[in-house]
Structure formats: structure tokens, C-alpha cells
Amino acid sequence: MTHLIRATALSLALTLSAGSAIADPDPADWDAVLEEAKGQTVYWNAWGGSSQINAYIGWVGEELEERHGVRLVHVKLEDTANAVTTVVAEKAAGRNEGGSIDLIWINGENFASMKRQDLLFAPDWTTELPNWRYVDVENKPTITVDFTLPTDGLESPWGMAKLVFFFDSARTDAADLPDNATDLLAWAEANPGRFSYPQPPDFIGSSFLKQILIETVADPAVLQEPVDEASFETVTQPMFDYLDRLHPHLWRGARAFPKDYPSMSQLLADGELDITFAFNPAEASNAIANQLLPDTVRSFTFSGGTLANTHFVAIPFNANAKAGALVAANFLISPEAQARKQDPEVWGDPTVLAMDKLSDGQRELFEALDLGIATLRPEDLGPALDEPHPTWMSRLEERWSARYAVGN
């Protein structure tokens, strides 16, 4: 009975809306997309833990409104998994259109989860975006392979991430800084209580585990494949041995951990931690510009390489404003939006665009940027280590919690 009523109501609604909601927009016909997007409201679910990033998203909203008549609403998440949960719940309730989320800031395991469950707008829409032609597909492999999974055009790149460490040169001698995981352990032994990492499953904390895993594993090639349960113990044993030795020397004796990387920046400012890290090479410069950190903070990486990846935006299969979401995704990879994002005064997040694909004027936007006193030049960032398959992340988090987060 209810089904009948709902079906009737649905067909009535469809007739009334003259079919505009039925057909998905076709990004190949961009003018039509722009036309359809006009007046739409795009609900963008994105992590809201950084006021700088929030302010940038606010600017994107203003620009979209002005240029394309698209209204952008930033739905601030504590954890991107919440947005995945919402889409899952909507699918479970049979809401296959008119969903509450139009755009998600995403990568890694959340992307893998949504892709596996067919929760994403498909097929390939990203390469059809007009601004795709600027994207550095050739030299940035993580743009098309997200944690070993092909993106298949289901998510559009937004920014580049690389694990970078920070220290306060007023307190810590640059000569003593570690250059690999083994050094880091020795440094922590010599400086008890002055290093820590966010508690997994925090994204950055889990990334730290992966960095250690990559450095301690016997054969890194196995990490590119899904976890093999039979050999999981053996493969990860060196990493957990490492952590067992590291933990007694961590901040608070590893009985508590910082929540996330902004908390670590605060702890660096307070003088509680001496070495912190983030996935954004300009994090320290940005924090200096915002008076969070003193201007004596500097960056360093490991010469053997640190973890690197790309973060994306994706559109749920049942998004209500797909055309608006497409317009937003396209604007995010425009040279103008990307250059502003890379400005440390604003956010400092590295671009996904290829400089040689830009016009002189566009390139000028990037070259004019002062990357900040605490930011390493791209050539000093060191080699990039590939992300392991997403299954590693969840298994590591599980095992880590079972081992270290259950009390003594």
C-alpha cells in the first residue's frame, strides 16, 4: 500500500518536474550542464576541522554563485566516513535520487568503499570536465590510481598530499633531525615525550603507520596487493616491533595520542611536541601566517621518501544536484582556484595541475606565490612513496587498536 502511494507520488513528481531530474547530466555537453546547474544548491560534504580550509571552501562558494549561479553549502564533517554512511543509509532506504549529498571530499579507503558498493556517480565524468586538460595526469600517478585502485574517472583530483615533518628551529637543532624511521626511533629515545602521532584511525595517524610499514617491510611489493590474511602477521611484524620500541618514548608514554594533525600543530606551538607532521607541505607556513606557530618553524622530509597521495572530490550516485556538482568539481581544478589553494596564506595545498599545460598568464598565478618560509621547494620534498592497497589501512587500524588501544 505504502509502495503504491509512494510510486504514485513519485510518478506525479516526475511528470511535474518535466523530466529534468530523471536524466543525469552529460558532462560532454558542458553548456547543457552549466544551464542545468544554474540555481542548483550543491551540498558538499567535506572535513571541517581546519578553519583555513573552511574559509577556502567558503570562497569557492562565493565564486560559484557569482560565475555560474550555483549555491554551494559546505556540510562540515568530522570524518568523511559519515558521508559514506549517509549515502549507504539512503541506498538502504531506497532513495536512488534526490540524495542529501552532492559532492564528497574523498580518497583512499572511503573511495574504495563507495566504489565497491556502486555508490558513486558513473561512468567516467572527470575526463570530460573542461578543465581536465590542465591536470597533470602524466607526472602525478596518484591522480589516476588512488591507493592502488584505478579512479576510473569516478573522482576528480583536488590536491596533492605528501607527508612532511615540522620542527621549531628555535628549540630543536636541525642537525639532529631524523632522516628515516630508524633515526626517528633513536631521536625519540634521546628526546622522550617530544614526539607522537595522531591516534589511528585518524587519517594522518594511519598514514604514519603506513610510512613505518613501508620502511620496515621486507618486500614493499606485497603492499600493492590486497592484504593476504595468511602472511599479514609476518609482513607487519617488523612494524609492530618498531612501534613497541617507539611507544615508551612518545608523548604521554603513548597512553594518549593527539586527535589529529591540527592538534599536533597546537602541541608544537605549546612546546609539548618537538617534531610533528602533516600531509600538506605548506601546513607550517600556513600556521605561521595564521599566528598559530612561531615563524621559527621549519620543514623536513626523509631522503628515502615519504608517503604521497592525492585527494579528490566525488559525486554520489543519488546526488540531487549532479550538474551543480560537476560545475563545482570543474571549478576546483581551474588554474585560478588551484593557485589560490596553493597560497600558504590561504591554505597551501599543492596543485594537481601541470605547469606546462597552462598559459603564461595562468602559470604566472602559481609563480607569483610565496610558498612561505617553512615550506620546502617541490624539488626538496624527496621521493614519493606509493600508498598501499586500501585493505592495508583498515587491517592496520584494527590491529593497532587491538594492540595499543585496549588499556593495560
Binding site: V75, K76, G253, R255, K259, Q266, D270
Partner: protein, 559 residues
């Protein structure tokens, strides 16, 4: 008309609760066809009990619920008994009462900023007294035993219990009892304890239960101050509920059932405690000791009250200072520079959430007060309290962990295409606001001296007139306090707003928690200040309006 009120109240509370619970319990036993669970099984519970550290988390939640309540109640009882009827009482009462208005999250942040090793207290005394040039590596916040969490909950539950006690005081012949016991030679504190407190406790008992339930199932304060290795059960539950892995949903629902059991055990343990403490107190009373030398204990109880108020006010002050600070490193007790930068930057983003918060809170409070008044008046007319069972249902939303039925509720609303609407959001807030309003209002309402009404009726006044002209004005103070409590509860809601609003109705609180996880103390300061301001206005009105209206009616003012 009025006879529809109790069924309406039950409908408003029971339907979302029942559907939500069903949406939680069925998946707990493996049944949720939409996610592929078609057969009943106990696998989710097997998964749950296989979780590392589960018992520790559960037992900790239980203990935190009990200890928090015991300490809070002891502080309130000690303070009221020791100081009732004095000038110091009124002073501290005015100091502590506004604290109820402060949302838990804001108070927890402020508290953390006070007591952390790099917090304000350490800064005040460093390096000149402590010798600390850098913060010591001490585990104070997020300690494994949950002491910081208990303290953070106590400083917020004390004002709640005190305010409920204050609202109930006029219904008890407290001053006369005190005078009588004093004339028999009892010390002030135990005299009050023996004569007036038992009657008072009966009036606030349900509020005490609500504190137990709240403290044992709390998410937001535990998130900020609680242990992290492992977290308490409710916090872990939220994590599992939000896990992208679908299979976790079944286990999360099983965990929600366990949380219900934990909260129920805490309540049961409290009942046992009541049975034990009562006879002990009686036997002490029967010894006839007068406890005249209570000066030190009175000072301590007053001091504890003042300290808890100081910690919250201090914490909020520090948050406010952070909101206008530039670079501020340890051990400076004051920022290097002050600036409005944070306010300017966040200002434009504040207006929308601010408006949403106020609209939802006003609507939910208005509806709740109207329903509560109608129910109570109906009960007054019929002389029946609707039965204890019906009453228990009214309080159920306070005794069931929010997370336990919110997920099921969200599914229901999505299926009905009613999520992310003002109506759904306000309704969900009513589910949480109404019990608190009812809880605050029913005790003084029922304790009202009905002889006033009998006199009015004997003078020929019809029922409606008696209600509007006699009972309501005399109980206006209690009504306004209840409304202020409801308003504060609504402002502080996080999970319901986020889940049912689908994130599209950001309020000051959802924004604060989202930003809070980012750890930027300046922005937290801005939001905490606003969080504090909103309900404070409500409580200020609840205090001012009766004081103004009844400035020449001393008995009504409840002195």
C-alpha cells in the same frame, strides 16, 4: 481538548523512540534486509564481544555514570544543606546557576584549556613557581582512568542538579525544618540533612536518574576529555556506527543494546545505593548526635561549589581570550598580541548557524512547554498521574542512549522523505527537550498546594481561570526554568542535529564540534563564547521575569 494531551505527548516521544529502537535492536540481531541481513542471528553480539577492550570500555562507562552522579549529588546536597538560607547561598547560587546554560562541549573545552599541562593554570604558575619552561609531559586530559572526564561532567551536572533542587525548594518547608532542627540544637548542615533533604531528594530523584543516564552514555564530553586507549563505550559506538564498512552497522547496533544495558545497570546500582544509604543515614540520625561543629565541612562544601564554578568560568574566560589572541606560546600567561582576526574570519559563517540554533531551540522549547503544561494540567484535573508506566515512557528518551535510537530514526525519516526538514529536526529536538522540560516542571507542579485552587473554586472561578490566574502565575518561575532548561538542551544537541538534519542545518554546536576536532583554540573560543551566550540569555530571562513580575510577592518568588 486537554484529554488529548497525554496521548499526544506519548505519541511524540514513543513513536520516534520505538521506531528508532526497533531500527537498532533488529540489526543487533542481524536483521536489516536493506543491508543484506535477512535472518536473525547473534553474530553481531559475537562480533561485539570479540572487540578488544570491550569490557573495559563498558565497565568504565558504568563507573563514570555512577561516580559522576555520586560526586555531583554529594556536592549539591552538601552545599544546599550547609548554606541554605544564607547570603553566601544566594551568592554561590547566582554564580553556579548560569553554568547550566553552558553547553557540555564548550565547558569541556574550557576545562581542558585550564587543566592541561600547557593549560592556563600551568601558565599562571610557570616558570616562576613550577620551574617549567616547557609544559611537563603529564597525562591529565584523556587519562586512562577517566578522572578528567568525571571532573568535566561533574562541573556541568552540579549546576543542573542545583537548579532542579532550587526549583523544588519552595515546595518543601525547608526553612521551617531548618529552624526547627536548629532549635533542637542540631548543626546547620546535618539539621537540614535530617529534616528537609529527604523530601527534597524525592523531588529531584528523576533528575538524578537523568544524570546517571547522561553521564554513562555521554559522547561529546567523553570525546574531548575521556580516555582514548580505549575510549568509553558510547564514543566507540559512534565510531562503529559511522564506519564505512556496512557489516560494522550490525555490531554497532549490538553495541547500542549493550549501552542500554550499561545504563540500566548504572540505574539499578543507584537504586541499591539508595537502599543502603537511606538506612545508614537513619541510624546516624537516631543516635541523636547534633553535629554542631560543622564549620570546616561547610567551608569545604561551599569551597567545592565555588571551585567548580571558577573552573568553568575560568575556562570560558580563557577560551574567550584565545578567541582574540595572536601567537600565544607557553609559558606566557597572556597572548603576545590581541587581534579580532578570528572573529572577523569566522563572523560571516556564524550568522546562519546562529539563526538555525535559535529557531530550532525556540520552536522545540515552545512545543515542549505547551505539551508538558497540557499533560500536567490534565493530570491535575483527573487526579491521575497517568500511571507510573506511562510516566516511565516519558522519561525513556533520557534513559536510552541517543545513539541507540537515532540511527533507526534516521532510516525512518529518509524512507518518509522527511529528513533534512525543519519539521523533522524540531520534532527530534522535542524528543530530547520535552523530557527535560517535563522533568523540571512536574515535581514542583505536583507539589503545588492545591488548597489555593480549592479556594479559587470555592470563590466560583472556572477551571480555566484557576489555571491561568492562580496556578500558572504561582508556578511561573518553575515554568520558565523548565523552558530555559529545554532551550539549553536544544542548543547543546549535536548528534540528532547532525543525523536528522543531514548536516544541512548547521547549528553553533555542530559547528563547534566539527571545528573542535581541529584543535584551533582561537576558533573554538569564538564558538564556545556563542554557545555559552545563547542559553545564558534564556536563563537570565527565567530569573529576571519572575523577579520583575512578582517584585511585590515575596512568597511566590520562593524565598
Amino acid at each position: 481538548m486537554l484529554r488529548f494531551a497525554p496521548p499526544l505527548a506519548l505519541f511524540v516521544l514513543a513513536v520516534p523512540l520505538a521506531c528508532g529502537l526497533l531500527g537498532t535492536i533488529l540489526p543487533a540481531f542481524g536483521f536489516l534486509p536493506a543491508l543484506g541481513g535477512r535472518h536473525l542471528s547473534v553474530q553481531p553480539f559475537a562480533d561485539l564481544f570479540g572487540q578488544p577492550g570491550l569490557w573495559r570500555s563498558a565497565v568504565q562507562a558504568l563507573m563514570i555514570g555512577l561516580v559522576t552522579t555520586a560526586i555531583s549529588l554529594a556536592m549539591v546536597a552538601g552545599f544546599v544543606c550547609a548554606w541554605y538560607g544564607t547570603r553566601a547561598f544566594r551568592l554561590i547560587q547566582h554564580l553556579v546557576s548560569p553554568l547550566l546554560a553552558v553547553p557540555h562541549a564548550a565547558a569541556a573545552f574550557g576545562f581542558a584549556f585550564m587543566i592541561a599541562p600547557s593549560g592556563y593554570l600551568a601558565r599562571l604558575f610557570s616558570p616562576w613557581a613550577t620551574g617549567w619552561e616547557r609544559p611537563p609531559d603529564l597525562l591529565i586530559v584523556n587519562d586512562p582512568a577517566g578522572l578528567a572526564l568525571i571532573a568535566g561532567l561533574v562541573i556541568k551536572e552540579v549546576p543542573f542538579l542545583l537548579l532542579v533542587t532550587l526549583a523544588a525548594l519552595p515546595q518543601v518547608p525547608a526553612l521551617r525544618s531548618l529552624r526547627l532542627s536548629q532549635s533542637l540544637g542540631y548543626g546547620r548542615m546535618m539539621g537540614f540533612m535530617f529534616t528537609a533533604w529527604p523530601a527534597l531528594y524525592r523531588q529531584i530523584r528523576l533528575a538524578v536518574f537523568a544524570v546517571i543516564a547522561y553521564a554513562s552514555a555521554n559522547v561529546d564530553v567523553a570525546f574531548i576529555l575521556g580516555p582514548t586507549t580505549p575510549q568509553t563505550l558510547p564514543v566507540r559506538l559512534v565510531g562503529w556506527m559511522n564506519d564505512p564498512e556496512l557489516s560494522m552497522r550490525f555490531m554497532a547496533c549490538a553495541g547500542a543494546c549493550l549501552q542500554i544495558a550499561v545504563t540500566a545497570s548504572a540505574l539499578a546500582a543507584w537504586l541499591v545505593l539508595e537502599r543502603t544509604v537511606g538506612p545508614v543515614a537513619e541510624s546516624i540520625c537516631e543516635t541523636g548526635r547534633r553535629f554542631r561543629r560543622d564549620g570546616v565541612v561547610r567551608l569545604v562544601s561551599g569551597g567545592m561549589m565555588a571551585t567548580s564554578a571558577f573552573l568553568v568560568f575560568g575556562g570560558l574566560g580563557v577560551l574567550a581570550l584565545w578567541s582574540v589572541s595572536g601567537l600565544w606560546q607557553f609559558p606566557s600567561a597572556f597572548p603576545d598580541a590581541l587581534s579580532w582576526r578570528t572573529w572577523q574570519r569566522t563572523g560571516p559563517a556564524l550568522t546562519g548557524p546562529l539563526a538555525t540554533t535559535i529557531i530550532i531551540a525556540l520552536a522545540a522549547t515552545g512545543i515542549s512547554v505547551a505539551i508538558a503544561l497540557a499533560c500536567l494540567q490534565r493530570e491535575n484535573e483527573t487526579g491521575r498521574t497517568g500511571g507510573n508506566r506511562a510516566l516511565a515512557l516519558v522519561y525513556l528518551p533520557l534513559l536510552v542512549p541517543q545513539i541507540g535510537f537515532l540511527f533507526g530514526l534516521q532510516l525512518l525519516l529518509i524512507a518518509g522523505d522527511a529528513d533534512a526538514s525543519w519539521a523533522a529536526l524540531i520534532l527530534v529536538h522535542v524528543v530530547f527537550v520535552l523530557p527535560y522540560v517535563f522533568l523540571s516542571l512536574s515535581a514542583p507542579w505536583r507539589a503545588y498546594d492545591r488548597r489555593y485552587e480549592a479556594i479559587a473554586a470555592a470563590l466560583g472561578a472556572p477551571a480555566g481561570r484557576i489555571f491561568w490566574r492562580v496556578r500558572l502565575p504561582m508556578l511561573l518561575r518553575a515554568v520558565l526554568v523548565a523552558a530555559a532548561v529545554g532551550f539549553a538542551v536544544s542548543v547543546g544537541q549535536y548528534l540528532p542535529t547532525l543525523l536528522v538534519g543531514a548536516g544541512r542545518f548547521p547549528t553553533i554546536t555542530t559547528e563547534a564540534v566539527a571545528l573542535g576536532s581541529g584543535g584551533d583554540r582561537r576558533v573554538i573560543g569564538v564558538y564556545a563564547f556563542l554557545q555559552m551566550l545563547l542559553p545564558f540569555v534564556g536563563f537570565a530571562l527565567a530569573t529576571l521575569v519572575p523577579a520583575l513580575l512578582f517584585r511585590n510577592r515575596r512568597a511566590i518568588r520562593g524565598l
